[in-house]
């Protein structure tokens, strides 16, 4: 039987990888993917606690979290399309204006 600390450690590793990616990468799509990795780390925590304490609420929250992540990515990619149209780049170092 796997102890709960292993799941929490896996989640911490995933969150650290996502934070590193979001801090260093300059490609906006890769940053979005890193944010997804961090959200999935939180989902692993939800499901692990739900399973170990035999409570369905955690898995319901994981479902809500997946839905919110999908909505966020839909809007994010649309903004990215507009960014590419207006400034011809998706490099985060180049994008330093809030309006044009």
């Amino acid at each position: 039987m796997i102890p709960i600390e292993y799941f929490l450690a896996l989640s911490a590793i995933l969150f650290a990888i996502g934070a590193y990616g979001a801090l260093t990468r300059r490609n906006t799509i890769v940053v979005l993917m890193s944010i997804e990795i961090m959200l999935n780390a939180a989902n692993i925590n939800f499901v692990a606690f739900s399973s170990f304490f035999n409570d369905a609420s955690g898995q319901v929250f994981a479902l809500f979290s997946i839905a919110v992540a999908a909505a966020e990515v839909a809007v994010g990619l649309a903004i990215l399309l507009n960014l590419l149209k207006t400034s011809d780049t998706i490099d985060l170092e180049e994008v330093n204006t809030l309006r044009w």
């Binding site: 969150f15 170990f52 609420s57 319901v60 809007v75 507009n82």
Partner: protein, 76 residues
């Protein structure tokens, strides 16, 4: 490797070590791993969190509308 990447590695490692330390220092008092089952998840989703489910549906509808509006090609 530039200074930005090194600082990010240090920040991510420090975050990981702090989180891991706090995970290992807590007595979680968790029992065995059990199977919750899709039936209980489904009834909890619709009984306890029915209103939240509706709000999430509204959120995804708004996100879809926003995404379509932002991404559409303006033909004039």
């Amino acid at each position: 490797m530039n200074r930005h990447a090194i600082a990010s590695i240090i920040a991510a490692l420090a975050l990981f070590l702090i989180v891991l330390g706090s995970i290992l220092s807590v007595n979680w008092n968790a029992g065995e791993m059990t199977e919750v089952g899709t039936e209980r998840v489904g009834s909890s989703l619709f009984d306890e969190y029915g209103f939240t489910f509706l709000v999430v549906g509204l959120l995804m509808f708004a996100a879809m509308m926003g995404g379509v509006f932002l991404a559409k090609e303006d033909d004039r």
